[in-house]
Amino acid sequence: MVTDVRWIRGSRVLWALLLALVFQVATGASGEVRPQRDLEAVVASVSGQGITMGEVGEMFSVLYTFDEQKLFEIVIVERVLPHAARIEGVTWQEAEIMAMLPERMRDLESYRQSFEPIMALARASLKVANGDEPDTVFERDLKPLGLSRQQFEEHLRMFGDDPDKIQHFLDIDHGKRIRDREIRMTRTKLLRSRLREALASKVTTSVSFESLASALWSQALEGAAVRILDPAYHMPEWQAAFDDAIGTRSERP
């Protein structure tokens, strides 16, 4: 009998440890970088075009959450909303989207140029990774740009001593990448707003907004031939497409 009680207690401890481990992995609470994923793996397709794990992961910088279903929904909604707009007869102009962009992003070249301080930090980190003296690199390359020693040291820690990793960072056109993503997000925001207006105008005492939105979303998913290939994800509900709370918030609290 005593042995049984001890066994039960022991199993509780094991369960607690297991749950803590699962929680830590699920939330990323440790602050550690997650195990590298197969970024090329296709997790779904829309209109025959694959969506890779990498594209889903890129949405982390939109929501800063480890909830992959939410990141997945952003990508699906972004691809499917134009279909919904066509079904509903909603139109948009690219010029409208450009006008909605934050001012700093409107001109690609100047926006790209604004990344220079961070690129300078990366180039300096690469020099250190290749054997240059950090003090010399800081005095020569970063101080004249108004960058602090603290910023340099933080970047040295982040980039580490792997020159390939730093070169990978330097090879990316970050300005264009972030701007393109913002354009896609802005398009989604504009279409969501217009579709909500269109649906709201059809609401009657017997037909609710929810039923209209749900029906339109089903039609759009079907029209866009959405297929989920990774069972870790499930099809987004209509709320993911038409709920205003999804995405970013810009109001002053």
Binding site: G28, V56, R104, F115, P253
Partner: protein, 317 residues
């Protein structure tokens, strides 16, 4: 950072050489204080000028004195007692921690002072310390009354100190914050950015007087509380450190840490309580987030924020 301040004090005495000054009963009395402040070589100088003059009570002039123009007359039988007179001339808050009251009075051995209806003492001087301005009601009108009493009667004079709480206009600015971090999905360093809006305002306690004021108005604006708010549109946390400075002649800095704590991670704010008067010639408050004084954070964050600082200026008017 403290800047050394040297005050060059020039005392200019204006002597009114009238014959009346030769009689007993006349007193040399401060009549005004003026100041000029200027910056030279990065150091603030303040030139203070004191203006003095002779104040004589009517009883100091003998009857028939040619200086007064009064005709001679035979000495009357018992002369009536002179009627006391009293007048609040001015207040000076040049040093707000030692508010000064200037009073002209005569035909009494002293006068009583009441502040906000409370008896504060009897005085036989022309200048009285009212103590710190901060001890006077910060949100309302306080009555100041002086009463001179003598055998010939009683005289009163009143003035009012009006203090009220006032919010500055809100200063705001938009700036961009950029940060690099290790992407938790790819394991590669990457970069992101966002626009941040900042709002700064200050709650002042303003003081006005119903009577004349001598000297620089160093007690006019008391910087009580500073509200420093940030708002942004991404679900990340922001922490910042800011300083609030009153610029001259002695720079003072108030540092206050601020942390994002509201649900949704879309705002951070902080308050500083400078609890300090600004100097008469510069009532500005300068709120500065120094370069590197703002950090962005989010789950799994391992990166560094690149931020070049932001400065906002608030004025009390």
């Amino acid at each position: 950072v403290r800047t050394a301040v040297r005050c060059l004090i020039i005392m200019t005495t204006i002597l009114l050489l009238s014959p009346a000054a030769l009689y007993a009963g006349c007193t040399l009395k401060l009549q005004n204080i003026t100041s000029v402040s200027y910056e030279y070589g990065g150091v603030w100088y303040e030139t203070i000028t004191y203006h003095y003059g002779w104040v004589c009570s009517p009883s100091a002039y003998p009857p028939g004195d040619p200086g007064t123009g009064e005709p001679s007359s035979p000495p009357p039988s018992p002369a009536p007692s002179p009627v006391p007179s009293i007048q609040i001339d001015a207040i000076s808050d040049w040093n707000p921690e030692d508010l000064r009251l200037f009073v002209t009075w005569s035909n009494a051995s002293n006068f009583d002072l009441y502040l906000g209806g409370q008896f504060r003492g009897s005085f036989a001087t022309y200048e009285v310390s009212l103590g710190s301005l901060q001890n006077i009601n910060r949100d309302g009108v306080t009555e100041l009354e002086v009463v001179a009493a003598g055998p010939g009667g009683q005289a009163r004079s009143k003035a009012w100190i009006d203090r009220w709480v006032q919010q500055s206009q809100e200063a705001s600015s938009d700036f961009n914050v950029r940060w690099s971090y290790t992407d938790p999905f790819t394991g590669h360093p990457t970069v992101s950015d966002m626009d941040v809006r900042r709002w700064l305002s200050t709650r002042f306690v303003r003081t006005l007087y119903s009577c004349e004021v001598y000297g620089p108005r160093n007690g006019q604006y008391f910087h009580e509380k500073v509200f420093d708010d940030l708002g942004w549109n991404k679900p990340v946390g922001v922490a910042f450190t800011s300083t609030y400075s009153l610029s001259a002649p002695v720079p003072t800095h108030h540092t206050y840490p601020c942390y994002a704590s509201r649900p949704g991670y879309v705002a951070a704010g902080g308050c500083a309580e400078p609890e300090q008067f600004s100097r008469a010639f510069d009532h500005r408050g300068i709120g500065r987030i120094p370069s590197g004084g703002l950090q962005v954070s989010f789950p799994g964050s391992t990166g560094s924020t690149v931020f070049f600082g932001n400065e906002l200026v608030v004025y009390p008017w």
